[in-house]
């Protein structure tokens, strides 16, 4: 009896969150599933159309496949590079040097800047003629690419931008590195392990749960990649080279008023993310090392 009352107290305390979750997350989440089987423009009553939206998506919409392809392509480049750069930076910033706090702050700073502001600054940096990047390249005798205006370079440009904000995950890696017990390194050193061997056989396995966490979050993040592409390459970029899935979904929902179709796209995206996350969880047994 007492325990039930105690539970009641607990629920009362979390009720603001619980109500918020039910009203603003669970309800829209389930509603969107229903809407994905309807024709709906947010004003008129939804009309049931069965699986037509899914059928059209999978069989009759090249832009759906194109945007999915762009997003996968981006994920395949940006996520691994983000992990490698994040870990590398964390390793460097974990060295025992004077003024390390300053360096850490410098590398972390970009990740706290608003995305929109960063995007606008990078628009200028990437300008092929008057942008800083190509000016520097020109100074060393290299003709830089057309970056965001080029179908080949627009996506890599956005990858570069994503790496600039790697500080967020770097801090988590850094915390992970601090957690690795020093006695492991001492033991390895006594056994005659070189710096590379210590990195390969102590640091990376001990850091693997953190890498796994950042990998999952990174994958989920890139599949919802929107703001930078929307601001820097409006309308899907040159030759739809940066027509990301989330951008196309947004266009379908708010520009073309196809909320049903957009809901179906959202559920396909959800399934894609679930499958990839599931696969990553399946592989983790082989490479993620949990202490103890």
């Amino acid at each position: 009896m007492v325990s039930a009352k105690k539970s009641l107290v607990g629920y009362a305390f979390i009720s603001p969150w619980l109500l918020g979750f039910l009203a603003f997350t669970a309800y829209p989440f389930l509603t969107s599933l229903y809407l994905s089987f309807t024709r709906y423009n947010i004003v008129q009553t939804p009309v049931w159309v069965g699986g037509a939206n899914y059928h059209n998506l999978l069989t009759g919409d090249p832009l759906f496949w194109k945007s999915l392809g762009v997003t996968f392509h981006f994920a395949l480049i940006a996520v691994p590079l983000g992990v490698i750069l994040g870990v590398t930076l964390a390793l460097l910033l974990n060295l025992d040097l004077k003024g390390m706090g300053v360096y850490r702050t410098i590398f972390f700073l970009p990740s706290i800047l608003p995305t929109v502001a960063t995007s606008v600054v990078f628009l200028w940096l990437f300008n092929p003629e008057i942008g800083l990047i190509n000016r520097i390249l020109r100074a060393v005798g290299v003709t830089g690419p057309e970056w965001l205006q080029s179908p080949q370079w627009a996506l890599p440009s956005l990858v570069i931008l994503s790496l600039w904000a790697v500080g967020g995950s770097m801090v988590i890696y850094l915390a992970g590195l601090k957690d690795i017990p020093t006695h492991l390194y001492e033991a390895a050193t006594i056994d005659g392990a070189t710096a590379w061997q210590r990195l390969r056989h102590v640091t990376l396995p001990m850091l693997s749960p953190v890498i796994f966490f950042n990998l999952i979050m990174g994958v989920i993040g890139v599949f919802q990649y929107f703001t930078e592409a929307y601001i820097m390459t409006p309308g899907g970029g040159p030759e739809d080279a940066t027509h990301f899935y989330a951008v196309y979904l947004f266009e379908r929902a708010w520009r073309y008023l196809d909320m049903g179709y957009a809901s179906a796209m959202a559920w396909v995206l959800f399934l894609v993310i679930m499958v990839i996350t599931g696969l990553l969880f399946w592989t983790q047994r082989r490479w993620v090392h949990y202490e103890g």
Binding site: V2, A52, G60, S150, E239, L257
Partner: protein, 458 residues
């Protein structure tokens, strides 16, 4: 013991409930207040009926907008317009949400031509039902064709054009003279213009363009001059892969190829901005450019001593004179608006439907084109033209029957996005103009089939 235990769980429960109640109260008050502000249900102060109006004009345009509202309110003893400026980037989503939520403004300006999409979706109310027979007669007979031919869906007017941009050639007289050309004799054909513009091109030591005489771009902008376009009112159907559109696209692509696609791309990429003082025409990087009447005000503001002229785009052989694509702004009354009569009064007042002469000062305040010959001839508008003689070319163009806008089909934004996409592919040389227009036709047919399958009326 029991008592103590009771008190032990009771106090935290009370505290928890109090916190939850406080949060709920704050949230509810917030929502209620928001709702009152949005829907205008406050029983306070306004003796007159409030008409809530949303627009997106800020900065240098805001005083012009405020004047319209102030003058309307001064003229009224029944309605009072309460204006709210909403951020342009969020205006559409905000507007659609307000309609979906049953609490829209009474009148709203729209910069995006989605009138058909929204009319089909029951987002808007018809306007023509508010018109008296006299107003309807004036609207249909005395306004310019572009004004009364747009904003319709299924026999009803859902959007009243308050402003339209038409395009003409701005050209630099100083650069003409420097290249040995006579600025008083602007070319009479597009072919002639294209030929003389090569004399205006300038390159640096590396062979990169520092200036291009005339650089045609965008199928949407050039199709009208070639007699093309994207909609056939007689058949109420879209026009896509037509010989006229193909000629227009061929012209753009061929001209760009002659200049060198890569060089043109680099030149375009290096342009700083399309607005304000950095506009390439003011900057001197383009000698001739096709652009809207609103640039007259910008030049006056940013470089008043610029030596330039304005002329209509000369048509190609067999093309149409006085042709232009026009971006338009509409005044609309959303579905669910509570004071649609007041909204209509405001639309009438501003657009000058029953008094075009009186409304002329609002058009000139914004540097807009007149909506009817009566407005153009009014003393206010004539005074504006004397002050801004370059505007005359655009006023003449506004009267042209060869002005086209976004096709009034319910999938119009999809269509315009696809036109932009295939145009991009062709201008970059990734598709030939024939392939591009074929792709446009295929994509559009697929979208129509999809919509038909879902039960949408086309």
């Amino acid at each position: 013991m029991m008592k103590e235990e009771n008190a032990g769980w009771f106090r935290p429960l009370l505290r928890g409930l109090a916190v939850a109640a406080a949060i709920a109260a704050v949230t509810t008050v917030g929502i209620t207040r928001q709702r009152l502000i949005a829907a205008g249900e406050t029983p306070q102060a306004h003796k007159r009926i409030p008409v809530y109006y949303w627009h997106m004009w800020g900065g240098e345009w805001l005083p012009s907008m405020t004047k319209v509202v102030t003058d309307f309110n001064a003229s009224q003893d029944k309605y009072e317009v309460i204006a709210l400026q909403v951020p342009p980037a969020e205006s559409e989503a905000k507007f659609l949400m307000s309609v979906a939520g049953g609490s829209p403004p009474d009148v709203m300006v729209q910069w995006t031509n989605a009138i058909s999409t929204w009319s089909q979706g029951d987002v808007l109310q018809p306007l023509d039902t508010h018109m008296t027979p006299e107003e309807k007669r004036f609207f249909l007979n005395d306004t310019y064709p572009v004004v009364h031919e747009n904003g319709w869906y299924k026999g009803h007017l859902y959007g009243m054009i308050i402003n339209m941009d038409v395009n003409a050639c701005y050209y630099r007289a100083d650069q003409f003279r420097e290249a040995g050309l006579d600025p008083d004799h602007f070319p009479k054909t597009l072919e002639e213009l294209t030929a003389i513009s090569r004399k205006l091109d300038r390159k640096d030591a590396n062979g990169r363009f520092t200036r291009i005489g005339f650089l045609p771009a965008s199928l949407q902008m050039y199709a009208p001059s070639f007699g093309g376009g994207f909609y056939d009112p007689a058949k109420d159907d879209v026009l896509l892969n037509t010989p006229e559109n193909l000629r227009a696209l061929n012209y753009i692509v061929d001209t760009n190829k002659q200049l060198g696609l890569d060089k043109v791309r680099r030149f375009n990429a290096g342009l700083k901005s399309q607005s304000g003082i950095d506009w390439p025409f003011i900057d001197g990087e383009l000698s001739v450019t096709l652009d809207g009447q609103w640039r007259v005000k910008q030049i006056k503001m940013f470089k008043p001593d610029l030596d330039y002229r304005v002329a209509p785009l000369p048509p190609p052989a067999g093309g149409k004179p006085g042709a232009s694509f026009s971006n338009v702004s509409f005044l609309t009354i959303p579905a669910g608006a509570k004071h649609s009569e007041g909204a209509w009064e405001f639309i009438k007042f501003w657009s000058g439907l029953d008094n075009p002469g009186a409304a002329a000062k609002y058009a000139t305040g914004f540097s807009w084109l007149p909506s009817s010959p009566q407005m153009a001839k009014s003393p206010d508008y004539q005074a504006y033209l004397r002050e801004n003689p370059k505007f005359q070319t655009f006023v003449d163009l506004a009267a042209s029957p060869n002005i086209i806008t976004t096709p009034p089909v319910p999938y119009q934004l999809y269509l315009m996005d696809r036109i932009g996409s295939v145009d991009d592919l062709a201008e970059r040389g990734s598709l030939t103009p024939v392939q591009a227009l074929t792709k446009l036709e295929t994509d559009t047919a697929r979208e129509r089939a999809r919509r038909t399958g879902l039960g949408y009326d086309q």
